[in-house]
Amino acid sequence: MEVAIAKGTVYEALRAGGMSRRAFLQACAAIGAALALPPGSGRAIAQALTRTPRPSVIWLSFQECTGCTESLSRAHAPTLESLIFDMISLDYHHTLQAAAGAAAEEARREAMAANHGRYILIVDGSLPVGQPAYSTIAGISNLAMLQEAAAGAAAVIAVGSCAAFGGLPGAAPNPTGAVPISAVVRNRPLVTLPGCPPIGAVIAGTLAHFLTFGRLPECDPLGRPRVFYGETIHDRCYRRPFYDRGLFADTFDDEGARQGWCLYKLGCKGPTTYNACATLKWNGGVSFPIQSGHGCLGCSQPDFWDGGGFYRAAALPFGPLTGTAGIAAAAGLATGTAMAVANRKKRAAAKRAHQPITVADLEKSPGAQP
């Protein structure tokens, strides 16, 4: 079967798709801005993309909901997100490819062989290493497929919180034994782009960085590009001044909510969440969850499903406190009573054992002066 091997440069592919040179330069400038690069970087990106061959991309989907792909492919207008599919030669993707069954797997293998050591591996979804049978593709376990594909990849991009941290499949009690991609991919360049789903521009920016500079962007200890995940939602939130002034919405329909006050009390996880939602925003920069009136869920943080409830404030303890306090107080009551009884017995015993000493006793004691 004929496999679409990457041919031509990124620029040629974009032009073939109908993009003008002006639009191309604008897109490069936008990517540079998204990556927080210096103003002149757009030209450097344009030059790089003009001479960089379109990379072959193998996109593997494991335990996931396809939300990441939906997020990327549903852009209505030409955006950075839509550029992704023009910048790359997408040689394997369950949801988007036309081929199916054995033909699809054959296409994947041929693309991997033809671009060994040069293709980019994008993975969404977590790996069920505890129970591999929960997720297989063409009879191949997710783990085996990832190990095979990662061996020849130039770089691996873990897209979405499932691939990055285990996500929903990894939430307690984690019935499939789900692990993130980083638990398996250890000897290839790996970047994680968490989010449920991640921002499309973040994926586009990371790809553009790799194509332009030949390496993945600088990452934090969780493997997230610092340029996108370097600050908390809270620090960049337009509602932050209300937090500082102590003005909060207490319910979703009170005066505070109508006034657009801080959603901390309603469980907003902005203070503990590192992502670019408050700056890049969604749907072409239209809005982001907090702007729409709902607190941040903290979806780009590990184990955000198990964070004690979406509507409980970020620093609040989990579980029913009253129960713990009540049981402990009852135990304290019992202990205190027992100690009180013991103390009384001790005092009573001391009182019984007390023998008064008279002057005569003192005079009888050894060494006493006659």
């Binding site: 934090d220 200890p221 969780l222 908390t232 809270h234 620090d235 937090y243 500082d244 002034r245 102590g246 909060f248 901390y264 009390k265 203070p271 503990t272 590192y274 943080q301 590990p302 184990d303 198990d306 964070g307 004690g308 409980r312 404030a313 970020a314 620093a315 609040l316 303890p317 989990f318 579980g319 406190l321 009253t322 713990t324 306090a325 049981i327 402990a328 107080a329 135990a331 304290g332 009551l333 202990t335 205190g336 009573t337 100690m339 009180a340 103390n343 009384r344």
Partner: protein
């Protein structure tokens, strides 16, 4: 930031907080019952003033500055850090939210910059207290390990909370975990150290005053 800080935050928000709360409640009830059950010998003398008046007067008298007993440094910094602690703990919005969830009671928060300033002043006042304790030969002589321990236990939540709010030094997740952990250590130690004075301070002053009000000692 790494997985360790996230795991630590999850632990201090979950099992850690429940363990600390349980020890705090258990210890507090236990110690109060034990103290109360110690009892006092019955007063044989009639009070020199109206019954109980000497107790209330002693609470007041020992709460106001007295040049003959203590230095103004102790009074000023002592009052400053106590008031700062109260403002910081009871009037910072996230703290009120915690208390609301724990007790069902809530009240309006102070503007965050005010609480922020109160926390900073508290740290300075606690620093002055320690310096005074170390420089004054009498205070230094009287100080035991518990005095320094309780000082550190009191300071730690304020400092970590301040760093957390300003994102200084470590990631917010790490600092929030450390802040909650320091509060939990404080909760565990409160009933079993002199920090229990947060409950016993005024009752013990009242009892002392009432006792002296029935003896020859003027109070």
């Amino acid at each position: 930031m790494n997985m360790t800080s996230i795991a630590l935050l999850a632990w201090v928000r979950g099992p850690g907080f429940h363990i600390a709360l349980a020890i705090f409640c258990l210890g507090l009830v236990w110690r109060l019952i034990e103290i109360y059950s110690l009892g006092r010998d019955p007063h044989l003398a009639a009070p020199r003033h109206r019954a109980g008046a000497s107790g209330w007067w002693t609470i007041l008298r020992r709460s106001r500055p007295s040049a003959e007993h203590e230095s103004m440094v102790s009074y000023l910094s002592g009052y400053t850090f106590h008031i700062g602690l109260i403002l910081t703990f009871f009037f910072f919005a996230p703290h009120i939210e915690l208390l609301r969830r724990a007790t069902g009671f809530a009240w309006p928060a102070l503007p965050t910059p005010l609480v922020d300033a109160a926390a900073a002043i508290t740290v300075v006042a606690l620093g002055v207290m320690l310096t005074s304790r170390l420089l004054d030969p009498v205070k230094r002589f009287l100080s035991v390990t518990e005095d320094y321990l309780t000082w550190a236990l009191t300071l730690a939540p304020v400092v970590t909370g301040y760093l957390c709010f300003h994102h200084l030094g470590f990631s917010y997740t790490t600092l929030l975990a450390l802040h909650l952990a320091s509060v939990e250590v404080l909760m565990v130690c409160m009933p079993f150290t002199k920090l229990i004075h947060f409950v016993t301070l005024f009752p013990s002053r009242w009892m002392n005053g009432d006792h002296f009000g029935r003896t020859g000692v003027a109070s």
